[in-house]
């Protein structure tokens, strides 16, 4: 290997390594800060129950955005998180998001109703839910993973989008949905296993 080639290789390697080390530091910091989250969200963010959302394996970009919105009182209907998120800086919240995003997603085991799933599935495809959230609801970029999420949590969050408690252009189409329809959507998405 020529000296020039070696230097180029080293330079490329340095560029590749530095962000990688920074990323693992961020995750370690997120783990340190995020251990207390498990009190409500379960170890590694694999949340049992139904009304508290799973966070282990959720998209980093989505979690990072939402945690900062909690802290800035932009999602006041999430009362607990509005208090808790204020205990951290935006950089700390980003590291917590990176940590939980690095973990394995475990699908919900909430009981779901097969008739509601069918109705929910039809609505989801008619309304383009899968275009943003992915074919299996796996989430893309800032659009959260909702496939395999806890059912009660999905239902409550959709009610907040519907009422405008959470402002979102994409989710504004929920404004015409009935409680039953939201329940059907929740059954469908939670039931993706």
């Amino acid at each position: 290997m020529s000296i020039k080639k070696l230097l180029i290789t080293m330079a490329v390697a340095a560029v590749l390594i530095v962000p990688a080390a920074g990323f693992s530091d961020t995750i370690a910091e997120g783990e340190r800060l995020g251990k207390t989250c498990a009190g409500c969200h379960g170890t590694a963010g694999n949340t049992p129950g139904t009304y508290i959302g799973k966070i282990g394996g959720q998209n980093s970009a989505y979690m990072s955005k939402v945690l900062k919105e909690f802290s800035a009182d932009k999602r006041p209907a999430s009362v607990e998180m509005s208090i808790v998120a204020k205990g951290y800086s935006d950089i700390q919240l980003e590291s917590v998001a990176a940590y939980y995003a690095s973990l394995k997603w475990v699908n919900s085991d909430n009981p779901v109703d097969s008739k509601k799933i069918l109705a929910g599935k039809a609505m989801a495809s008619d309304n383009g839910c899968l275009d943003c959230h992915g074919i299996k609801g796996e989430g893309i970029g800032e659009f959260p993973r909702i496939g395999g999420q806890n059912k009660g949590y999905l239902y409550e969050v959709m009610k907040r989008y519907r009422s405008g408690d959470i402002s979102s252009d994409e989710m504004s189409m929920l404004s015409d949905f009935s409680d039953d329809q939201l329940d059907q959507l929740a059954n469908f998405f939670s039931g993706i296993r």
């Binding site: 340190r32 800060l33 251990k35 207390t36 989250c37 498990a38 009190g39 409500c40 969200h41 379960g42 170890t43 949340t47 049992p48 129950g49 139904t50 009304y51 508290i52 009362v79 607990e80 208090i83 808790v84 204020k86 205990g87 951290y88 009660g152 409550e156």
Partner: protein, 433 residues
């Protein structure tokens, strides 16, 4: 004793104590060196107390370093949750709903669970003497919980009085007893609950119980009254939220008397005397003043002679008294650790901080900066809940835990009651599964 907190390396070469007679027989001579059970073959941490702090620490030690030998010493066969136990007293949960086996810790993490009672601590030689034999350790973490100060009320410190006036602030037989007394009471009866002076475990706990007993009486025992003698001059936690619920739902049931100390009880007649008067109710729940569990005193963990809580450094929870003994949970001294409530959630946080610090110490590493949080839900009836939340940090200047953010729910909601139930399932799984 002097604490050389930086001296991790020196510690790691803890003397291996010769293995004696093994096995777990019923009769073991605990005073002789042949009484060592489960002899230590690798770095071992013994956890004393399988409650909120201890069970959490045991699991998180194994998550941090699976090669550690973790032994959990616990008297009870199963974990019974004190948070949520008021729901059993309120008549809408069973004891089995708040009981979790230790099997998860054994099967999922390889933690050894020894059902035994701690008798004596030899910190210098790394030995905990129990009624089943001597257990060796490199580091010990004690999370012993609380004891009742029965002797602060005249006539209360007798078996008859303890039976007649159950405290039910340690979940288990006492909880069942109080629930059964309420169920057996005739309609139109009277119940007395006494709230202890601070500091006590679970600040909103007595007030949730008041709400849920009132809810139970309203539904099942028409015409009954609930009288409350509060040693404090007002509701200690979530005051306006509890007051509003009591005014809205239970104004004809609850008679709340603040700033009223309990003076004496009579187990024979059932008479209860307070500073502001005496009554003879049908059912009495005396929640006595509290101190650290008696085990903490018996093991010599108190730093000063008249201490009632165990002093520990809140960045690692190493005790003031012994460098190789850590203490977490309700038994910790608020003056030493800082302004955190004695709650299950805080004990869970403390358990994680201590587990990380202990595992790192045994591996020759500095502790990480600690983090702590709290959320306490309370129900005001079977359907509606309220809560308080806070995030804390360690202040390096004053060496205490300080609050960073915190607040209470602005109102009661059905959704918060659902969160309360799911919170319990989450945190039990975080401790035990």
């Amino acid at each position: 004793m002097s604490i050389s907190r930086r001296n991790f390396i020196k510690y790691t070469s803890a003397a291996a104590i010769g293995a004696g007679v093994l096995g777990c027989h019923h009769e073991i001579n605990v005073s002789s060196s042949t009484g060592i059970i489960m002899p230590k073959s690798s770095k071992r941490i013994v956890i004393l107390g399988g409650g909120w702090g201890g069970a959490t620490a045991a699991k998180y030690l194994k998550l941090e370093d699976p090669s550690l030998d973790v032994v959990l010493v616990e008297r009870q066969d199963s974990f019974i949750s004190c948070p949520v136990s008021n729901w059993v007293i309120g008549g809408f949960r069973k004891m089995s709903d708040i009981t979790v086996s230790y099997e998860g810790l054994i099967k999922n993490y390889g933690i050894k669970v020894l059902h035994a009672e701690a008798k004596e601590l030899d910190a210098e030689n790394g030995q905990l003497k129990t009624d089943k034999g001597i257990v060796e350790f490199d580091l010990l973490l004690a999370s012993p919980g609380i004891s009742y100060k029965y002797d602060t009320v005249e006539g209360l410190n007798t078996p008859d009085a303890i039976d007649r006036f159950p405290a039910a602030f340690k979940a288990g037989a006492e909880t069942v007893k109080l629930a059964e007394r309420l169920a057996a009471m005739k309609p139109g009866g009277s119940v007395l609950l006494t709230v202890p002076p601070t500091p006590y475990r679970c600040p909103p706990g007595p007030y949730e119980r008041i709400s849920l007993i009132a809810d139970y009486l309203k539904k099942n025992k028409p015409g009954s009254k609930l009288i409350v003698f509060d040693s404090n001059d007002g509701i200690v936690s979530k005051g306006p939220l509890f007051k509003k619920a009591w005014n809205d739902y239970y104004s004809d049931i609850i008679e709340y008397v603040p700033d009223n100390y309990l003076v004496s009880v009579d187990a024979g007649t059932g008479r209860v005397v307070s500073e502001k008067g005496e009554i003879t109710p049908d059912v009495v729940n005396v929640i006595p003043a509290m101190k650290a569990n008696q085990t903490a005193f018996d093991l010599g963990l108190m730093d000063k002679d008249d201490d009632e809580w165990v002093r520990a450094y809140p960045d690692t929870f190493m005790s003031y008294k012994y460098e190789n003994v850590y203490v977490v949970g309700d038994s910790t001294h608020n003056g030493a650790v800082g302004g955190v409530p004695k709650s299950g959630y805080v004990a869970n946080s403390m358990g994680k901080v201590a587990a990380s610090a202990m595992a790192r110490r045994l591996n020759g590493k500095e502790p990480l900066e600690p983090t702590y949080a709290n959320t306490c839900y309370s129900l005001v009836n079977e359907q509606e809940g309220i809560f308080v939340s806070a995030v804390y940090r360690y202040d390096k200047n004053i060496k205490r835990i300080m609050s960073v953010s915190g607040g209470v729910s602005p109102e009661r909601k059905a959704l918060f009651a659902k969160h309360a139930q799911n919170w319990a399932e989450s945190i039990w799984s975080d401790m035990l599964l």
